[in-house]
Structure formats: structure tokens, C-alpha cells
Symmetry: C2
Subunit: 477 residues, 2 copies
């Protein structure tokens, strides 16, 4: 197999999904694919991008993400030294529309490009085995099949869909035709499926761009039309390709499984046996993490007494302790704590729905909010004041803004700030402070080479985020 041929695989990472079942670590403001839940060094999105970074095998990746996630995507790619084409969905339209965009994007390069669709939030234990499997499945894709990776089951899981294998696929060694996709079964059904040789549906698949476009044309023409119009009218904004909102909204919301995979006559599956998990629940996170002799998976500052088979995840500076419990999940973050029966951790989804219904801001927003210029985090709030810690990345620049109801005191604790106050520009160094009176027009920039950190003390009758008049913004907000 020549290198030129193999590098024809174009990876597309789908970054949708809010991962509410992994609340409170995962929230809409920083969903699980961008959080460092499994590997303390990399998010699953970063691990996914790194998995397909070898130019001998893969073309430049594309990422399909929500508009809100655009700066997280760019920042996290930069952190691991990678770049990608970043296509922004103005709203989520489920996976068929995203796959259509992926196929259209790939076809512009070369209609016969093999596209590898990947979820951003899965864990794979053996990158080399994964790459080998993808290369093998690509052979079937080039031969005209939409190929899926089917994971050899290691337990009778009821939280995965299954794939029943049909006749062997002569065009790709080890692969078979898909006989049928099976929805998540009950426990007895899972046992039966495994006995019949069925595989877990990993959600990874590969196809030739031109053939997927033909499948979409045949089975979901509205999806394809919406995606095509959205990409044709897309605007390139900074480094992002922003799909046209009105056109994309016309693509019906449907999964690629329903729209194409269950209808096509040319679906193939390659059995794979590398460790794989969609880490969809805290129970699944516990399963993929290293465990100690008592079966506990621990993160952060944790102390236990007589506790077994549990996941204790302690974020931030806090100390989390457990006494005399088995099979629990405890996730402690600076503003929210989850304690759950491990077996019932899937119900966290209902919990988050309850939190939303009861208007708890912690349902969707993290305490630390990422922005294109860095992040801020509330560290204290009182009746007429609020205190934030703000970090600005080198070169980062907040919008030119003013507030009607609050004055601000900034104390620089690291790095150097360039502060514009009305028509004055001053440099503020570590251990220096600056005062921004109510109504003053101001702007904060990090002109230096290291992150700028400052403590902001807001004083006034109202300190809500919406008291902000943005006059100019380099990030197009």
C-alpha cells in the first residue's frame, strides 16, 4: 500500500454534544470532549486529533463544531501543536447534516477522498491498532462501501448499539457486510447478540466522499441540499468556516444512522478489538481509568476510609472525602458537587434537566468561562461587589467596553497589562493596580510573552455579565 494512497484518508472530528451525563465536570460551557476527564493532560478532543495526526496516513483533519465552541477548538488544537479546518455549525442539526458537510468539504479536495468520521469524545486505548484498523477499513471504503468499525464486545453492554455481521466482504480482509444495526438492547438481548457474534457500533465510519453524497442524494436529499447551501454560502471568519445559518437550518435533524446507514445496501463492518469506550457516563469513565487495589479511580485531592469500586474526581483546590461507601461516583468542582450511585450515573442527564428547570446557573455554565482571549472565573460575590480572576493569553485583547453600573479595580498579579482608559493607555505591571470608574471606556490587552493574570474587583449596584457595552472587538463578537 503506497503512502500516497493511505494519506488519502481525511479525518473529520464531530464535536457536537454537550455531555450532560458527565455533569458537573462537563457542561454546555465546556462539554466533555474538551474537558480533561480521563487523561489529566489532554481532552478526548485533543487525543482524537492526535490519533489522526500522522501525515503518512491522514490528510489535514477537519473539525465540525458549534459556533460557541470555536475558540476552545482553536485553543486546544494549538496546545497540542495541530491545525485543522474548523467548520462551524450555527446550530446542531444532528449527525446526518454534519456528515453531509464533511463529505462536501472532502469532495472539494477530491471526490474520491476517503473520509473518516470520528466522535470527539471517545477513548481508544491503542492508537497503533486504531490506525491499522482504519487503514484496513479504508480499503473497503475505496471499494465502494460505507465501512464502520465494530468493536468486539467485552461485556453485555446495554448502553451501546450493536451490529450483526453478514457475509464476508471479499474486497476488504476481515470485514463483513452489515446484516443489521441493532438499537441498545436489554441485558438478555445483549447476551444473545454477543452469542451471535454481533459487534458494538463504535460510531466511527469511513466512506468515499462521492459515494456518501450519492447515498445522501438517494436517502436524505433535504439534508444534503441544506448542507450544500450552507457550505456554499459559508463565510470565512478569522480561521473559521462559518456555515450559513438560514440554509443549514433547512437540513432536517436526523442521525446518519437513520438517514443512511440503515438504508444503504453497501454497509460494511470491520471487527476491531482495541480498547474503546464512548465514556458516556461516569460509570464508563470509571471503567476506563486506572483503579487502585480497592477498585477506586481517584483524581485530585481525595481521602477515603473503607470505600471501594468508586470514582472520586476532585477538581480545583478542594478536598473530597468518602467514608464507608461502595460503587459511588463523587465529582466535586468549585461550584457544584455530584454524588451518585455508580450504577445509576446515567440519570445525571435527568438531574441536569431538573437543574435547568429550577434555573440553577451551574446546569450549563462553568465557574471558569473560556473566551477567545483567555478565561475568567468568579472567585467571590457579595451584595454590591464581585471578584474575578482573569487570565489573558499573550496577544489576547478584550473588547473595548464600558459598564453602566459598576466600577472596576484591576490588580495585576502576573505578567503585564496594557490598559486603555478613555483616551489614555497605560502599562500595568505585576503588583500594580488600576481603577476604571463607572462609565469609563476601557480595554485590556496582554502585550507580553507570558499569560497575564489579574484580580478584578467590581463594585456597584449591579455586577451581572450583561452590563457591558461592547464598542469594538477583534474576535467579531
Amino acid at each position: 500500500m503506497s503512502a500516497a494512497c493511505v494519506a488519502d484518508i481525511l479525518p473529520v472530528i464531530l464535536c457536537g454534544g454537550s455531555g450532560t451525563r458527565l455533569w458537573p465536570a462537563s457542561r454546555a460551557s465546556m462539554p466533555k470532549q474538551f474537558a480533561r476527564l480521563v487523561d489529566p493532560k489532554f481532552s478526548t478532543f485533543q487525543a482524537t486529533a492526535q490519533r489522526v495526526a500522522d501525515p503518512a496516513t491522514f490528510a489535514r483533519a477537519a473539525v465540525i463544531a458549534s459556533s460557541e465552541a470555536r475558540f476552545i477548538v482553536a485553543e486546544q488544537l494549538a496546545q497540542v501543536g495541530l491545525s485543522a479546518d474548523i467548520v462551524l455549525e450555527p446550530q446542531g442539526r444532528d449527525s446526518a447534516a454534519a456528515v453531509a458537510v464533511a463529505a462536501l468539504h472532502a469532495a472539494r479536495r477530491n471526490p474520491e477522498t476517503v473520509v473518516l468520521i470520528m466522535a470527539a469524545d471517545h477513548v481508544i486505548g491503542d492508537t497503533a491498532a486504531f490506525v491499522r484498523a482504519v487503514s484496513a477499513a479504508a480499503v473497503g471504503a475505496r471499494a465502494g462501501y460505507t465501512m464502520t468499525l465494530g468493536v468486539e464486545p467485552t461485556r453485555p453492554a446495554t448502553d451501546y448499539g450493536y451490529i450483526r455481521r453478514g457475509a464476508p466482504l471479499p474486497e476488504a480482509e476481515g470485514a463483513a457486510r452489515v446484516e443489521r444495526f441493532v438499537e441498545k438492547p436489554d441485558a438478555a438481548g445483549a447476551e444473545r447478540l454477543i452469542a451471535e457474534g454481533a459487534l458494538w457500533n463504535s460510531g466511527y465510519f469511513l466512506f468515499r466522499a462521492d459515494l456518501m453524497l450519492a447515498e445522501l442524494e438517494a436517502h436524505a436529499p433535504d439534508v444534503l441540499a441544506g448542507a450544500r447551501a450552507a457550505l456554499d454560502a459559508a463565510v470565512t471568519d478569522l480561521d473559521f468556516v462559518r456555515l450559513d445559518a438560514a440554509a443549514f437550518a433547512r437540513a432536517p435533524k436526523i442521525s446518519i444512522d437513520y438517514a443512511v446507514m440503515e438504508r444503504t445496501t453497501r454497509a460494511g463492518v470491520l471487527p476491531v478489538s482495541f480498547p474503546w469506550s464512548d465514556v458516556g457516563t461516569w460509570d464508563a469513565v470509571w471503567q476506563v481509568l486506572p483503579q487502585d487495589a480497592q477498585g477506586n479511580a481517584l483524581r485530585g485531592r481525595v481521602e477515603l476510609i473503607e470505600t471501594r469500586n468508586s470514582l472520586i474526581h476532585s477538581e480545583g483546590d478542594g478536598l473530597t472525602t468518602v467514608v464507608g461507601l461502595d460503587d459511588v461516583v463523587v465529582v466535586s468542582t468549585p461550584d457544584a458537587v455530584l454524588v451518585a450511585s455508580k450504577a445509576r450515573s446515567g440519570e445525571v442527564k435527568e438531574l441536569v434537566a431538573t437543574l435547568r428547570a429550577n434555573a440553577h446557573p451551574e446546569a450549563d455554565a462553568h465557574l471558569r468561562m473560556y473566551r477567545p482571549w483567555g478565561w475568567y472565573q468568579r472567585i467571590d460575590i457579595g451584595e454590591r461587589f464581585q471578584v474575578k480572576r482573569i487570565q489573558v493569553t499573550p496577544g489576547g485583547r478584550l473588547s473595548l467596553q464600558k459598564h453602566h453600573h459598576r466600577a472596576e479595580h484591576w490588580v495585576v498579579v502576573r505578567g503585564t497589562a496594557e490598559v486603555t482608559i478613555n483616551d489614555r493607555v497605560v502599562l500595568v505591571h505585576e503588583n500594580e493596580a488600576v481603577y476604571l470608574p463607572i462609565g469609563s471606556m476601557h480595554r485590556l490587552t496582554n502585550p507580553g510573552k507570558i499569560p497575564l493574570e489579574l484580580i478584578e474587583v467590581q463594585v456597584g449596584s449591579y455586577t451581572g455579565e450583561d452590563d457591558i457595552i461592547r464598542v469594538e472587538d477583534i474576535y467579531g463578537r
Copy 2:
């Protein structure tokens, strides 16, 4: 019974004990008797003081507390509009020494004064019934008995001591001689004791000062000698009576139960049936709190899914959630979280020992630290900085001090500060800031009528509490 006679009861509240089994709400820096764990408005110490505040029945109370707790005691009494004689133990010497001090203190007033010894950390559900019982028991005390209150058991508790009743006491209606004190039994032993009519040992007792001194002289002369010398050499310091440390250290460490109660021939017990608990564990706290239809006792911001018979205590601004668990205790504070099996909540004591062994500061120190002038709380910390919120009560005045390794920025967010910087004194109002360079001599005072709140941003190479040179302090520290 004349009022003059009844008012001869002198209540003495013993405030010792660190309440580690109620960690993390209770810690050495603010033990459970001063925390608002059961009643959100009053600590059990405050409730205890209020229970004996009626001058028709009780003389001015005395409080025996540790030196460290002196400002908390004074502040909490002031909050409920009460005053008391506050006697400070330079170190804990167990209850016999404290009772000896109480008897000596009372005898100075009148040797026949009846003393009521009370723990600061118990919950009593019916104050009127309690006062009636104390008045009835006082009759036995005046007749020469050391009277205890024996609580009618409502369950076969294994975490309380028991009292077996002997012959009726003709001198006090309803009372009996104590046949025997029984240590905490096992479950079968508890059932047997209850069948025999034994009562829970509440730890409350009453005696005539002169007779207790005679008992101590007979059974524990070293304890009495140490206590007497410590009180004779005591120093009155601000509003406190500070026992002499060297003398008090000579009193052997022994409980009043071992030293006197189990040896005296004149112990009586009055059966009482008001609701009583020593709230010694989180399980006991759950039992005394109001519960919802699912048996849950909730405090603070809490959301539950399918959870029963649990105590969820959420302090501060954070949100605490539980999914699919029964019979658990979850206590969430801004810097530490406890999750425990309710049945095993007594093991929190071992947990705290482990935390100490592993040098976790949360074992003993709260995030919010109370001082004679108010409190401070760390709200953020980083590599070369720390941020605190500081509240100074009206008239409060911090020591004149300086730091070698940090500069401080103070931003006033409420009230007015009088700030001394070297030889300059300035008033700093809300929304104003002041800078204290490294090495500058400074002092903070609240000259106003409302609490002063400020945000302190410390910047420097070391921000530990021990970088402080105190030059002058109105609180004698």
C-alpha cells in the same frame, strides 16, 4: 418554691471538645458547638445559653472555654444579647477539672449555690420541660445529692452511656438513687438495659458547690488542688478570666464521671422525657432535623434524584446534588466535601485523624477564620498571590503589623476603613483602594457603624499567614 430559692441555680456551660465527628462543618477552628448545624439561626452553644437565660430561675451563667474560643464565645453571646462569666482554660484537662473550677467559682458567690453543668453541644427539643426538670432536680441537689438528668430511651442506642436506677429518692419527687453508671453498651446490652428501666446518661448534672468540693477533696484531691490554684492565680484579661496555665496543668486529666460520679454514694437521677440528643455524629444530626416525605434532611442549595433517608448539608454558594442513593450523608463546604454512609458516620473521626496525618490543612482550619476583630476568608490563591475577603466589625481593629514578603492591595467593598500606613492615617471608603508596600507598617480599623468589608490582594514571593510581624494588638495576641 420561692423565686429567690430557684434563682440559686448557677448554670455552667462547658465548651470544650472539637467535634471532629461532624467534620467538615465542625473543625478545631470553629467546633460544632459554635456552628449552626441544626438550627440555621443559632449555634447549640447559643441555644444552650438561651435555655438558662431566665433570671427568675437562673443566676448569671458561667462559660468554661478554651483560650482559642474566647472571641467566638463573646461574639456569640453578644449576638443573642446575653452575657456570662467566661473562664478560659489554657489547655483542656477533661471534665473533672472544669467541674472543679465551676464549683470553686460558684462557691465564691455562695457555698450552697446549686450548679447546673451543661454541655454546649446538645440539642433539647422542649425548653420549658427542661427548665421544669432542672428545677425538680435542684431540689435533690439542695438535699445533698449530685443529681443527673436521665433521659428515657427512645431506641436501643449504643452511642450513649446508661444509668441504672436504684431506690426512689424521698427528697426529690420522681427521682431515684443511681444504682450504677453503664458505659456505652452493644446492641443486645442496650435492649437489656432499656428492659430494666435504665436511662440515657445526658451528661447534665446539678450539685451544691460546697458538696461537690467535698466530693472532689475526697475522690480527686489533685484535680481540686490544681483547679483551685489556677483560679486563685487567674488573670482577668479584657472580659475573660484566664486560669493560670502552670497551676491548671497540674490537674490530672480525668472525666467527672470517673473522678466523682462513679464513686460518690450520693448520686441521684431524675428521669426526663424531653427530646434530647448529643448530636455526636452526622447520623444524629439527621435524626434531630426536620425531614421531608422521602426522609431527607436538606440544608442549602441541594437537588436530589431518587434519594432517601439522607442528610445533605450544602454550605456557601455551591450546589450539591445526589442521584440514586439512600442513607448517605453529604456535607459540602467551600473547601471540603464529605460523603459518608450514614450508618458509618461515626468513622468521620478516623477520617479526620487521617487528614491530620496527611497534613491536610482542612482537617482543623476552616476557610473562614474568625478573629476578635471579625473574620477573613481566602477566596483565591496562585503562585505568587493570594486573595482574601476581610470583614471587620464596627470598632474592630487589626494589629499594627508588617510583612517581609508581600505587598497588599485593599479594595473596600462595603463600609469605611481607617488605614494607618507608616506615619499616615487615611480613610478609605467603598469603591476606593489603598496600597501597602512590602515592609510598610500598617493597621486596619473599622471606625464606622456597619461592618467593613474589603478584598485584599496579596502579591509576593510568600503569602503564608506566618509572615506577620505584630507590633501592637488591642486583643493581647
